[in-house]
Amino acid sequence: MKFADEFRDRDKARALVREIETLADQIEITRTRPLNIMEVCGGHTHSIFRYGLEGMLPPSIELVHGPGCPVCVLPMGRVDDCVAIAERPGVIFTTFGDAMRVPGSKKSLMQAKADGADVRMVYSPMDALALARNNPDREVVFFGLGFETTMPSTALTVLQAEADGIENFSVFCNHITIVPTIKAILDSPDLHLDGFLGPGHVSMVIGTAPYEFIADFYKRPMVVAGFEPLDVLQSIWMILKQISEGRAEIENQYKRIVPEAGNDPALAAVARVYELREFFEWRGLGSIDHSGVKVRDEYARFDAERKFAIPNVKIADPKSCQCGEVLKGVLKPWQCKVFGTLCTPETPLGALMVSPEGACAAYYQYGGVKPQRDETMAAAT
Protein backbone atom coordinates (compact mmCIF):
# COMPACT_ATOMS: atom_id res chain seq x y z
CA MET A 1 0.00 0.00 0.00
CA LYS A 2 1.05 3.51 -0.78
CA PHE A 3 1.06 4.70 2.82
CA ALA A 4 1.94 1.54 4.64
CA ASP A 5 5.59 2.51 4.83
CA GLU A 6 4.67 5.44 7.08
CA PHE A 7 2.65 3.22 9.33
CA ARG A 8 3.80 3.35 12.94
CA ASP A 9 4.18 0.31 15.11
CA ARG A 10 4.10 -2.07 12.19
CA ASP A 11 4.92 -5.10 14.30
CA LYS A 12 2.05 -4.36 16.63
CA ALA A 13 -0.28 -3.90 13.66
CA ARG A 14 0.81 -7.18 12.10
CA ALA A 15 0.36 -9.00 15.39
CA LEU A 16 -3.11 -7.51 15.79
CA VAL A 17 -4.11 -8.48 12.25
CA ARG A 18 -2.94 -12.05 12.96
CA GLU A 19 -5.06 -12.15 16.11
CA ILE A 20 -8.02 -10.74 14.19
CA GLU A 21 -7.60 -13.50 11.59
CA THR A 22 -7.47 -16.18 14.27
CA LEU A 23 -10.59 -14.85 15.96
CA ALA A 24 -12.44 -14.45 12.65
CA ASP A 25 -11.70 -18.09 11.83
CA GLN A 26 -13.27 -19.17 15.11
CA ILE A 27 -16.51 -17.30 14.43
CA GLU A 28 -19.14 -19.53 12.88
CA ILE A 29 -20.76 -16.82 10.73
CA THR A 30 -17.59 -16.28 8.69
CA ARG A 31 -18.03 -19.70 7.06
CA THR A 32 -21.10 -18.47 5.20
CA ARG A 33 -20.59 -14.70 4.88
CA PRO A 34 -18.23 -11.94 5.95
CA LEU A 35 -18.74 -10.14 9.25
CA ASN A 36 -20.08 -6.64 8.61
CA ILE A 37 -18.62 -4.02 10.90
CA MET A 38 -19.77 -0.43 10.49
CA GLU A 39 -17.56 2.49 11.37
CA VAL A 40 -20.09 5.17 12.23
CA CYS A 41 -17.69 8.09 12.19
CA GLY A 42 -16.27 9.82 9.12
CA GLY A 43 -12.97 10.34 10.94
CA HIS A 44 -12.59 6.58 11.13
CA THR A 45 -13.47 6.25 7.46
CA HIS A 46 -10.71 8.70 6.61
CA SER A 47 -8.18 6.89 8.79
CA ILE A 48 -9.17 3.45 7.44
CA PHE A 49 -8.57 4.59 3.87
CA ARG A 50 -5.49 6.63 4.62
CA TYR A 51 -3.70 3.68 6.21
CA GLY A 52 -5.12 1.00 3.93
CA LEU A 53 -6.59 -0.87 6.89
CA GLU A 54 -9.31 -2.57 4.82
CA GLY A 55 -6.65 -4.25 2.74
CA MET A 56 -4.90 -5.59 5.83
CA LEU A 57 -7.98 -7.33 7.15
CA PRO A 58 -8.95 -10.87 6.16
CA PRO A 59 -11.72 -11.21 3.55
CA SER A 60 -14.00 -12.50 6.29
CA ILE A 61 -14.30 -8.94 7.63
CA GLU A 62 -16.15 -6.29 5.69
CA LEU A 63 -16.03 -2.68 6.82
CA VAL A 64 -19.23 -0.77 6.15
CA HIS A 65 -18.74 2.99 6.01
CA GLY A 66 -21.50 4.65 7.98
CA PRO A 67 -23.25 8.02 7.86
CA GLY A 68 -20.98 9.85 10.29
CA CYS A 69 -19.83 12.67 8.06
CA PRO A 70 -22.09 15.64 8.88
CA VAL A 71 -21.33 17.45 5.65
CA CYS A 72 -22.18 14.34 3.64
CA VAL A 73 -25.64 13.81 5.09
CA LEU A 74 -26.79 17.39 4.65
CA PRO A 75 -29.84 17.38 2.37
CA MET A 76 -29.92 19.62 -0.68
CA GLY A 77 -32.91 21.55 0.62
CA ARG A 78 -30.93 22.72 3.66
CA VAL A 79 -28.09 23.92 1.42
CA ASP A 80 -30.71 25.83 -0.59
CA ASP A 81 -31.91 27.37 2.68
CA CYS A 82 -28.34 28.45 3.45
CA VAL A 83 -28.02 30.05 0.03
CA ALA A 84 -31.38 31.82 0.48
CA ILE A 85 -30.26 33.27 3.84
CA ALA A 86 -26.81 34.17 2.48
CA GLU A 87 -28.33 36.04 -0.47
CA ARG A 88 -30.45 38.29 1.74
CA PRO A 89 -29.21 41.89 1.78
CA GLY A 90 -27.32 42.77 4.95
CA VAL A 91 -26.48 39.19 5.86
CA ILE A 92 -22.99 37.87 6.47
CA PHE A 93 -23.28 34.09 6.21
CA THR A 94 -20.52 32.22 8.04
CA THR A 95 -19.62 28.57 7.70
CA PHE A 96 -16.92 25.99 8.26
CA GLY A 97 -14.91 25.57 5.08
CA ASP A 98 -16.09 21.93 4.69
CA ALA A 99 -19.60 23.05 3.84
CA MET A 100 -18.69 25.52 1.09
CA ARG A 101 -18.79 23.03 -1.76
CA VAL A 102 -21.78 20.91 -0.76
CA PRO A 103 -24.12 21.06 -3.74
CA GLY A 104 -27.58 22.57 -3.34
CA SER A 105 -30.26 22.13 -5.99
CA LYS A 106 -29.08 25.26 -7.81
CA LYS A 107 -25.79 26.23 -6.25
CA SER A 108 -23.38 25.65 -3.42
CA LEU A 109 -22.36 28.32 -0.90
CA MET A 110 -19.15 28.70 -2.88
CA GLN A 111 -21.17 29.56 -6.01
CA ALA A 112 -23.42 31.87 -4.01
CA LYS A 113 -20.30 33.70 -2.84
CA ALA A 114 -19.04 33.96 -6.43
CA ASP A 115 -22.46 35.40 -7.35
CA GLY A 116 -22.03 38.16 -4.77
CA ALA A 117 -23.42 36.82 -1.48
CA ASP A 118 -21.31 37.66 1.56
CA VAL A 119 -20.30 34.14 2.56
CA ARG A 120 -17.30 33.80 4.83
CA MET A 121 -15.37 30.82 6.03
CA VAL A 122 -14.72 30.80 9.74
CA TYR A 123 -12.78 28.37 11.88
CA SER A 124 -15.10 28.67 14.87
CA PRO A 125 -18.62 29.87 15.72
CA MET A 126 -16.81 32.25 18.12
CA ASP A 127 -15.35 33.97 15.05
CA ALA A 128 -18.85 34.41 13.67
CA LEU A 129 -19.82 36.05 16.97
CA ALA A 130 -16.78 38.33 16.71
CA LEU A 131 -17.92 39.28 13.20
CA ALA A 132 -21.33 40.18 14.60
CA ARG A 133 -19.70 42.31 17.28
CA ASN A 134 -17.52 44.05 14.69
CA ASN A 135 -20.38 44.60 12.22
CA PRO A 136 -23.34 45.79 14.30
CA ASP A 137 -25.24 46.95 11.21
CA ARG A 138 -25.16 43.49 9.62
CA GLU A 139 -26.93 40.23 10.46
CA VAL A 140 -24.36 37.48 11.01
CA VAL A 141 -25.60 33.93 10.60
CA PHE A 142 -23.54 30.89 11.52
CA PHE A 143 -24.19 27.58 9.77
CA GLY A 144 -24.37 25.19 12.74
CA LEU A 145 -23.43 21.78 11.53
CA GLY A 146 -22.18 18.52 12.93
CA PHE A 147 -22.96 15.81 15.44
CA GLU A 148 -22.56 16.13 19.20
CA THR A 149 -18.86 16.92 18.76
CA THR A 150 -19.55 20.43 17.50
CA MET A 151 -22.99 20.97 19.07
CA PRO A 152 -21.54 22.33 22.37
CA SER A 153 -19.53 24.93 20.44
CA THR A 154 -22.59 26.56 18.88
CA ALA A 155 -24.60 26.22 22.10
CA LEU A 156 -21.86 27.97 24.09
CA THR A 157 -21.61 30.65 21.40
CA VAL A 158 -25.35 31.34 21.65
CA LEU A 159 -25.00 31.60 25.44
CA GLN A 160 -22.08 34.01 24.95
CA ALA A 161 -24.13 36.11 22.49
CA GLU A 162 -26.89 36.30 25.09
CA ALA A 163 -24.47 37.25 27.88
CA ASP A 164 -22.88 39.95 25.70
CA GLY A 165 -26.23 41.24 24.45
CA ILE A 166 -25.33 40.68 20.80
CA GLU A 167 -28.59 40.66 18.89
CA ASN A 168 -27.34 40.53 15.29
CA PHE A 169 -26.07 36.96 15.60
CA SER A 170 -27.97 33.77 14.90
CA VAL A 171 -27.34 30.10 14.20
CA PHE A 172 -28.86 28.19 11.31
CA CYS A 173 -29.05 24.95 13.24
CA ASN A 174 -28.45 21.73 11.33
CA HIS A 175 -26.93 19.75 14.14
CA ILE A 176 -27.71 16.07 14.13
CA THR A 177 -27.62 13.35 16.75
CA ILE A 178 -25.93 10.01 16.36
CA VAL A 179 -28.05 7.67 18.44
CA PRO A 180 -31.36 7.80 16.49
CA THR A 181 -29.34 7.42 13.32
CA ILE A 182 -27.68 4.23 14.51
CA LYS A 183 -31.11 2.97 15.53
CA ALA A 184 -32.50 3.76 12.05
CA ILE A 185 -29.61 1.86 10.49
CA LEU A 186 -30.21 -1.11 12.79
CA ASP A 187 -33.88 -1.07 11.82
CA SER A 188 -33.09 -0.90 8.11
CA PRO A 189 -34.06 -4.16 6.41
CA ASP A 190 -31.28 -3.77 3.79
CA LEU A 191 -28.51 -4.25 6.25
CA HIS A 192 -27.13 -6.89 8.49
CA LEU A 193 -24.46 -5.46 10.74
CA ASP A 194 -22.54 -7.57 13.22
CA GLY A 195 -20.92 -4.77 15.19
CA PHE A 196 -19.98 -1.11 15.35
CA LEU A 197 -16.86 0.96 15.72
CA GLY A 198 -18.25 3.74 17.91
CA PRO A 199 -17.45 7.38 17.18
CA GLY A 200 -14.58 8.74 19.27
CA HIS A 201 -15.28 12.43 19.59
CA VAL A 202 -19.06 12.28 19.70
CA SER A 203 -18.60 9.89 22.62
CA MET A 204 -16.16 12.29 24.26
CA VAL A 205 -19.21 14.58 24.61
CA ILE A 206 -22.08 12.14 25.20
CA GLY A 207 -20.21 9.30 26.94
CA THR A 208 -20.97 5.64 26.36
CA ALA A 209 -24.30 5.14 28.17
CA PRO A 210 -26.49 6.36 25.24
CA TYR A 211 -25.28 3.36 23.20
CA GLU A 212 -26.42 0.72 25.67
CA PHE A 213 -29.57 -0.04 23.64
CA ILE A 214 -27.38 -1.36 20.82
CA ALA A 215 -26.14 -4.11 23.10
CA ASP A 216 -29.33 -4.55 25.14
CA PHE A 217 -31.98 -4.55 22.40
CA TYR A 218 -30.12 -5.29 19.20
CA LYS A 219 -27.51 -7.59 20.75
CA ARG A 220 -24.71 -6.02 18.76
CA PRO A 221 -21.30 -5.11 20.14
CA MET A 222 -19.91 -1.59 19.86
CA VAL A 223 -16.40 -0.49 20.66
CA VAL A 224 -15.78 3.26 20.93
CA ALA A 225 -12.52 3.69 19.04
CA GLY A 226 -9.66 6.12 18.64
CA PHE A 227 -8.45 7.27 15.23
CA GLU A 228 -4.94 5.90 14.99
CA PRO A 229 -4.50 2.79 12.85
CA LEU A 230 -3.67 0.71 15.93
CA ASP A 231 -6.77 2.04 17.72
CA VAL A 232 -8.96 0.96 14.83
CA LEU A 233 -7.36 -2.49 14.56
CA GLN A 234 -7.52 -3.04 18.31
CA SER A 235 -11.18 -2.03 18.34
CA ILE A 236 -11.98 -4.45 15.52
CA TRP A 237 -10.23 -7.14 17.54
CA MET A 238 -12.35 -6.22 20.59
CA ILE A 239 -15.54 -6.49 18.52
CA LEU A 240 -14.51 -9.91 17.21
CA LYS A 241 -13.59 -11.02 20.71
CA GLN A 242 -17.12 -10.16 21.86
CA ILE A 243 -18.72 -11.97 18.94
CA SER A 244 -16.55 -15.04 19.45
CA GLU A 245 -17.55 -15.15 23.12
CA GLY A 246 -21.22 -14.55 22.39
CA ARG A 247 -21.18 -11.17 24.15
CA ALA A 248 -22.75 -7.89 23.04
CA GLU A 249 -21.47 -4.96 25.08
CA ILE A 250 -20.50 -1.34 24.73
CA GLU A 251 -16.75 -1.15 25.29
CA ASN A 252 -14.45 1.84 25.28
CA GLN A 253 -11.09 1.48 23.56
CA TYR A 254 -10.58 5.27 23.53
CA LYS A 255 -10.55 5.77 27.32
CA ARG A 256 -7.72 8.28 27.06
CA ILE A 257 -10.18 10.76 25.50
CA VAL A 258 -13.66 9.38 26.16
CA PRO A 259 -14.94 9.49 29.76
CA GLU A 260 -17.77 7.00 30.30
CA ALA A 261 -20.01 9.81 31.53
CA GLY A 262 -19.23 12.26 28.72
CA ASN A 263 -18.50 15.94 29.21
CA ASP A 264 -20.82 17.61 31.73
CA PRO A 265 -20.33 21.30 30.85
CA ALA A 266 -20.76 20.48 27.14
CA LEU A 267 -23.94 18.48 27.72
CA ALA A 268 -25.33 21.18 30.00
CA ALA A 269 -24.81 23.89 27.35
CA VAL A 270 -26.42 21.72 24.67
CA ALA A 271 -29.43 20.96 26.90
CA ARG A 272 -29.89 24.65 27.68
CA VAL A 273 -29.91 25.86 24.08
CA TYR A 274 -31.22 22.94 22.03
CA GLU A 275 -34.08 20.48 22.06
CA LEU A 276 -34.83 17.52 19.83
CA ARG A 277 -36.70 18.05 16.58
CA GLU A 278 -39.52 15.67 15.85
CA PHE A 279 -37.63 14.52 12.79
CA PHE A 280 -34.80 15.63 10.56
CA GLU A 281 -34.15 14.95 6.92
CA TRP A 282 -30.89 13.22 5.92
CA ARG A 283 -29.39 13.05 2.49
CA GLY A 284 -29.76 9.52 1.23
CA LEU A 285 -31.36 8.20 4.42
CA GLY A 286 -34.62 10.16 4.37
CA SER A 287 -36.37 11.43 7.46
CA ILE A 288 -35.22 10.04 10.82
CA ASP A 289 -37.23 10.67 13.99
CA HIS A 290 -35.55 12.81 16.66
CA SER A 291 -32.29 12.85 14.72
CA GLY A 292 -31.73 16.59 14.79
CA VAL A 293 -31.93 19.44 17.27
CA LYS A 294 -33.40 22.92 17.09
CA VAL A 295 -32.95 26.08 19.13
CA ARG A 296 -35.25 26.26 22.16
CA ASP A 297 -37.93 28.97 22.33
CA GLU A 298 -35.98 30.84 25.04
CA TYR A 299 -33.23 31.48 22.49
CA ALA A 300 -35.50 32.07 19.48
CA ARG A 301 -33.84 35.40 18.75
CA PHE A 302 -30.61 33.53 17.99
CA ASP A 303 -32.36 31.09 15.67
CA ALA A 304 -31.85 31.94 11.97
CA GLU A 305 -34.74 29.66 11.07
CA ARG A 306 -37.12 31.94 12.97
CA LYS A 307 -35.35 35.20 12.24
CA PHE A 308 -35.51 34.77 8.47
CA ALA A 309 -38.13 33.11 6.33
CA ILE A 310 -36.40 30.12 4.80
CA PRO A 311 -37.74 28.27 1.76
CA ASN A 312 -37.55 24.94 3.66
CA VAL A 313 -38.29 22.98 0.52
CA LYS A 314 -37.53 19.29 0.39
CA ILE A 315 -35.37 18.58 -2.65
CA ALA A 316 -34.84 15.04 -3.89
CA ASP A 317 -31.26 13.95 -4.49
CA PRO A 318 -30.24 13.79 -8.15
CA LYS A 319 -31.54 10.57 -9.69
CA SER A 320 -28.09 9.44 -10.72
CA CYS A 321 -26.80 9.67 -7.12
CA GLN A 322 -26.78 6.57 -4.99
CA CYS A 323 -25.51 8.26 -1.85
CA GLY A 324 -28.21 6.62 0.27
CA GLU A 325 -27.16 3.11 -0.65
CA VAL A 326 -23.51 3.98 -0.08
CA LEU A 327 -24.31 5.65 3.27
CA LYS A 328 -26.11 2.56 4.45
CA GLY A 329 -23.29 0.38 3.19
CA VAL A 330 -25.51 -1.44 0.69
CA LEU A 331 -23.33 -0.26 -2.20
CA LYS A 332 -19.59 0.31 -2.27
CA PRO A 333 -18.71 3.79 -3.55
CA TRP A 334 -17.24 2.51 -6.81
CA GLN A 335 -20.46 0.64 -7.53
CA CYS A 336 -22.33 3.94 -7.88
CA LYS A 337 -23.00 4.76 -11.53
CA VAL A 338 -21.50 8.25 -11.39
CA PHE A 339 -18.52 7.53 -9.08
CA GLY A 340 -15.35 9.04 -10.49
CA THR A 341 -17.02 10.06 -13.74
CA LEU A 342 -19.75 12.66 -13.24
CA CYS A 343 -19.07 12.80 -9.52
CA THR A 344 -15.53 13.67 -8.37
CA PRO A 345 -14.09 15.66 -5.44
CA GLU A 346 -13.61 18.65 -7.79
CA THR A 347 -17.20 18.54 -9.07
CA PRO A 348 -19.21 16.58 -6.51
CA LEU A 349 -22.75 15.58 -7.40
CA GLY A 350 -23.32 13.79 -4.14
CA ALA A 351 -22.20 15.00 -0.75
CA LEU A 352 -20.14 11.88 -0.05
CA MET A 353 -17.61 13.24 -2.55
CA VAL A 354 -17.24 16.59 -0.81
CA SER A 355 -15.41 15.84 2.41
CA PRO A 356 -12.37 13.58 2.96
CA GLU A 357 -14.52 11.97 5.65
CA GLY A 358 -17.07 10.91 3.05
CA ALA A 359 -16.65 7.33 1.86
CA CYS A 360 -16.65 8.27 -1.84
CA ALA A 361 -14.01 11.00 -1.55
CA ALA A 362 -11.88 8.68 0.59
CA TYR A 363 -12.12 5.89 -2.00
CA TYR A 364 -11.40 8.35 -4.77
CA GLN A 365 -8.39 9.83 -3.01
CA TYR A 366 -6.75 6.72 -1.63
CA GLY A 367 -7.86 4.10 -4.12
CA GLY A 368 -10.91 2.01 -3.59
CA VAL A 369 -9.82 -1.39 -4.77
CA LYS A 370 -9.05 -3.72 -1.93
CA PRO A 371 -5.34 -4.43 -2.35
CA GLN A 372 -3.97 -7.93 -2.18
CA ARG A 373 -3.27 -8.67 1.43
CA ASP A 374 0.17 -10.06 0.68
CA GLU A 375 1.11 -6.88 -1.08
CA THR A 376 0.02 -4.78 1.91
CA MET A 377 1.93 -6.90 4.35
CA ALA A 378 5.00 -6.88 2.13
CA ALA A 379 4.87 -3.12 1.93
CA ALA A 380 4.42 -2.89 5.66
CA THR A 381 7.61 -4.77 6.42
Binding site: G42, P70, R120, V122, L156, Q160, R256, A269, P356
Partner: protein
Protein backbone atom coordinates in the same frame (compact mmCIF):
# COMPACT_ATOMS: atom_id res chain seq x y z
CA UNK B 1 -13.82 19.77 12.24
CA UNK B 2 -14.65 16.49 13.95
CA UNK B 3 -11.13 15.32 14.66
CA UNK B 4 -10.01 18.52 16.37
CA UNK B 5 -6.40 19.45 16.98
CA UNK B 6 -4.17 19.42 20.08
CA UNK B 7 -3.02 22.72 21.54
CA UNK B 8 -1.42 24.01 24.73
CA UNK B 9 -3.07 26.69 26.84
CA UNK B 10 -0.55 29.53 27.21
CA UNK B 11 -2.62 32.35 28.70
CA UNK B 12 -5.98 33.02 30.32
CA UNK B 13 -7.59 35.94 28.47
CA UNK B 14 -10.88 36.28 30.34
CA UNK B 15 -11.49 34.10 33.37
CA UNK B 16 -15.19 35.00 33.63
CA UNK B 17 -15.88 34.11 29.98
CA UNK B 18 -13.48 31.16 30.18
CA UNK B 19 -11.47 32.40 27.24
CA UNK B 20 -7.82 31.42 26.85
CA UNK B 21 -5.07 31.59 24.26
CA UNK B 22 -3.87 28.30 22.94
CA UNK B 23 -0.74 27.44 20.96
CA UNK B 24 -1.40 25.02 18.13
CA UNK B 25 1.83 24.08 16.38
CA UNK B 26 3.10 27.66 16.74
CA UNK B 27 -0.19 29.31 15.76
CA UNK B 28 -1.86 31.17 18.61
CA UNK B 29 -5.54 31.84 18.87
CA UNK B 30 -8.23 32.42 21.42
CA UNK B 31 -10.38 29.47 22.41
CA UNK B 32 -13.16 28.79 24.87
CA UNK B 33 -12.19 26.44 27.70
CA UNK B 34 -15.59 26.10 29.43
CA UNK B 35 -15.77 22.35 28.72
CA UNK B 36 -12.47 21.51 30.44
CA UNK B 37 -12.98 23.68 33.52
CA UNK B 38 -14.43 22.09 36.66
CA UNK B 39 -13.85 22.10 40.41
CA UNK B 40 -10.68 20.06 40.05
CA UNK B 41 -9.47 22.30 37.23
CA UNK B 42 -10.26 25.97 37.93
CA UNK B 43 -9.62 28.39 35.07
CA UNK B 44 -6.33 29.74 36.42
CA UNK B 45 -4.87 26.23 36.76
CA UNK B 46 -5.32 25.48 33.05
CA UNK B 47 -2.18 27.28 31.86
CA UNK B 48 0.25 24.75 30.46
CA UNK B 49 -2.45 22.11 29.93
CA UNK B 50 -2.70 20.26 26.63
CA UNK B 51 -6.22 20.13 25.25
CA UNK B 52 -7.97 18.80 22.19
CA UNK B 53 -9.50 21.80 20.41
CA UNK B 54 -12.61 21.42 18.27
CA UNK B 55 -13.68 24.49 16.27
CA UNK B 56 -12.31 26.87 18.87
CA UNK B 57 -13.44 24.98 21.98
CA UNK B 58 -11.26 22.85 24.24
CA UNK B 59 -13.24 19.62 24.52
CA UNK B 60 -10.85 17.31 26.35
CA UNK B 61 -7.68 17.51 28.43
CA UNK B 62 -4.92 15.29 27.05
CA UNK B 63 -1.35 14.52 28.07
CA UNK B 64 1.67 15.70 26.16
CA UNK B 65 2.39 12.29 24.66
CA UNK B 66 -1.18 11.94 23.40
CA UNK B 67 -0.98 15.46 21.97
CA UNK B 68 2.15 14.58 19.99
CA UNK B 69 0.67 11.30 18.73
CA UNK B 70 -2.58 12.98 17.73
CA UNK B 71 -0.78 15.78 15.92
CA UNK B 72 1.24 13.22 14.00
CA UNK B 73 -1.77 11.28 12.78
CA UNK B 74 -3.66 14.50 11.96
CA UNK B 75 -0.69 15.62 9.88
CA UNK B 76 -0.67 12.30 8.03
CA UNK B 77 -4.39 12.63 7.38
CA UNK B 78 -3.89 16.17 6.12
CA UNK B 79 -6.33 17.39 8.76
CA UNK B 80 -3.78 19.29 10.87
CA UNK B 81 -2.75 21.48 7.94
CA UNK B 82 -6.39 22.14 7.01
CA UNK B 83 -7.28 23.00 10.61
CA UNK B 84 -4.34 25.39 11.08
CA UNK B 85 -5.07 27.01 7.72
CA UNK B 86 -8.72 27.47 8.76
CA UNK B 87 -7.54 29.13 12.00
CA UNK B 88 -5.25 31.47 10.09
CA UNK B 89 -7.81 32.46 7.48
CA UNK B 90 -10.85 32.71 9.70
CA UNK B 91 -12.74 35.92 9.03
CA UNK B 92 -13.55 38.14 12.02
CA UNK B 93 -13.62 41.62 10.46
Amino acid sequence: MCLGIPGRIVRIDDAAKKLATVDVSGVRRQINIACVVDEAHPVESCIGDWVLVHVGFAMSRIDEHEAAQTLKILTELGEAQAEIEAMRQSSVH
